[in-house]
């Protein structure tokens, strides 16, 4: 869902470039300027986020320590039912699988998005605006309908899978446990491909935005200094596009790790992700405390991963 965020981030980066002096925040001017004006503007929206985002997150944490059942009602009994967190061990395979799938999808997205972002930023000329529309165009159809279309594309007797079988690519992937012999649907690869497809625009737009800001003369300068195109890419273009790459990987990885639509529609229970487990615990098992514990741990795990990743990537001014 955060595809718009990328579009917005892209727009933000572009606009800032156009008007470096236009950061309105530096000049405290507005209608009826008083000390309280910003707080008045912020209050309604922030109340909404407080009541329907922050408080629910705290309630989720509280729920993860509750005991009871759906029929009898849930309650907190001191010191809390910490055993709910035992489910994290039970479902460790699904946790690990989620992060591996999301990580693979993020890598695939990066591999696909970088050439496309590069193409739009440097080689598209007057078609730039149109190509950007095409990148977000897949969002115009429903996420679920597009995902279902992959069932047709990856059908066992379809051209894609036939080719993969004929060329023995599938045999190789089967060795890596990514597919099953002779088929792709309902295997890990199908889920990873679905995730890759669904979150690709989130990767393309920030990479495009950071490349678009880059001065193309820098690459020319590198080549004048006898750098090969490969070295210029590695030493000039790639480092300058890193903010876009970091933003793109986050915007792909976070929703992909929590997604359960792809695993449900393109996979089987054998390849279910932690999102599937949480959804089942809520709606099939109706064990809300356990589900809340899993949900909360998922959030924590992602926060920790993102924290270390952003620190390593060295771009702390993302927000």
């Amino acid at each position: 869902m955060s595809g718009g965020a990328v579009a917005a981030t892209a727009a933000e980066q572009r606009d800032i470039r156009q008007h470096p002096s236009g950061g309105g925040a530096t000049e405290a001017k507005g209608v009826g300027t008083s000390k309280w004006t910003p707080y008045l503007l912020l209050t309604p929206g922030f109340l909404w986020l407080l009541v329907f985002f922050l408080i629910p997150t705290i309630i989720l944490l509280a729920f993860s320590l509750y005991s009871g059942s759906l029929d009898q009602g849930y309650a907190f009994e001191f010191p809390g039912q910490w055993s709910n967190y035992g489910a994290v061990i039970t479902y460790l395979p699904q946790f690990i699988r989620s992060f591996i799938f999301a990580g693979l999808a993020t890598l695939f997205c990066l591999a696909l998005a970088y050439p496309l972002g590069y193409f739009i930023a440097f080689k598209s000329g007057k078609w730039k605006a149109t190509l950007l529309v095409l990148v977000i165009a897949p969002f115009f159809t429903s996420f679920l309908i597009r995902t279902l279309a992959w069932k047709t594309i990856l059908a066992d007797d379809g051209p894609v899978v036939s080719f993969m079988n004929w060329s023995h690519i599938n045999a190789l992937l089967t060795l890596l446990h990514l597919t099953e012999s002779g088929r792709v649907l309902n295997t890990p690869l199908a889920v990873v491909l679905g995730l890759t497809y669904n979150f690709l625009p989130f990767m393309v737009l920030p990479i495009y935005a950071s490349l678009d800001r880059m001065d193309p003369r820098l690459v020319e300068a590198a080549q004048d200094l006898y750098s090969s195109p490969w070295t210029a890419l590695r030493k000039v273009t790639w480092p300058l596009s890193l903010p876009g790459v970091v933003a793109g990987t986050l915007l792909t990885f976070i929703p992909a790790a929590g997604d359960y639509i792809n695993a449900e529609l393109l996979g089987t229970t054998k390849v279910s992700m932690i999102g599937n487990v949480i959804q089942d615990q809520f709606f099939v098992v109706t064990d809300y405390p356990t589900a809340s514990a899993l949900s909360f741990v998922l959030m924590l795990a992602i926060l920790v991963l993102v924290f270390f990743y952003v620190r390593r990537a060295g771009t702390e001014d993302l927000v």
Binding site: H19, L41, F282
Partner: protein
């Protein structure tokens, strides 16, 4: 991945050394446009499938295999029970959630973009957090909150949830537009003796409006397409994405593809018309 973008790795020209510009060289010189177009093709493949299969006449419950051409799904759009009701509900929800999120979000955007105040960076963080939280966490957190409040889940809870997750996207989009404004335009208006109110409504607001329109379209599509958060907070109410989810288990009528195709074509038309208008204006 990155290797692919290196345009001129020394590649041995294998066979056709007769002409200096053989096919390998042709490809090598255009490697980036070729790769970029292939990726775009990949992005459009499923949409192509969605549109083609809207003309299918499946002979089972599922519409995954091509049987024969038919326009039946297009002429009997509302034949599958409950689909059109779900569609109508999603459209109404989308409009309401957009109105709510755009009003709240635009106010926040002006507050953050135009003022320096204590807690400004904390405010930015609060806006960013819903975008960095997986939907399944957001959805389940809201569910536990509504259960705690014993608040019946239905239309109201869906609307609350949609406004919540659209809000941040509106803030970010509108804020970007405000930050991109040329401050000299407002200064010019003030120099010409416009008071603050007039400057805002005659200069600032019209300049920010395209950002607000963009944010509205974004919020609408987010709300219209949302499944995960909605699924946690809808009770027995069925939105269009939830209908599709159910259909994936029970049987997928080709009418789903018709709706998908229509959504795609209508939004593409809106965007293209907007682009043409913008270009004309730029020329004028």
């Amino acid at each position: 991945m990155a290797t692919a973008t290196a345009p001129a790795q020394p590649v041995k020209v294998a066979q056709s050394t007769k002409r200096p510009g053989g096919p390998i060289r042709w490809v090598r010189e255009r490697i980036i446009p070729i790769l970029g177009s292939l990726v775009l093709l990949y992005m459009f493949l499923p949409i192509f499938v969605v549109i083609v299969f809207s003309f299918n006449l499946p002979n089972g419950r599922f519409n995954y295999q091509w049987v024969q051409f038919s326009t039946q799904a297009w002429t009997n759009l509302c034949a599958p029970g409950g689909m059109c009701d779900a569609l109508r509900l999603s459209l109404i929800m989308g409009v309401l959630a957009t109105i709510g999120a755009v009003i709240l979000g635009t106010l926040v955007a002006f507050g953050i973009a135009r003022y320096r105040f204590r807690g400004r960076s904390a405010s930015n963080l609060l806006v960013f957090m819903p975008m960095a939280t997986p939907e399944v966490v957001m959805g389940s957190a809201l569910l536990t909150w509504f259960v705690t409040l014993t608040f019946a889940r239905g239309l109201a809870t869906i609307l609350i949830a949609h406004v919540m997750f659209c809000l941040s996207f509106v803030v970010v989009t509108v804020k970007a537009r405000i930050a991109g404004l040329d401050p000299r335009l407002e200064q010019a208006a003030m120099d010409l003796y416009a008071d603050e109110r007039t400057t805002f409504w005659r200069v600032t607001f019209p300049l920010v409006l395209p950002g607000i329109v963009g944010a509205s379209l974004l919020a609408f599509s987010l709300s219209f397409d949302d499944f995960i958060v909605t699924n946690f907070n809808s009770g027995s109410t069925v939105t269009f994405p939830m209908y599709v989810w159910g259909a994936a288990q029970r049987g997928t009528p080709p009418q789903i593809n018709v709706v998908g195709s229509l959504m795609f074509l209508v939004s593409l038309a809106i965007v293209l018309v907007a682009q043409v208008v913008q270009r004309r204006r730029a020329k004028a």
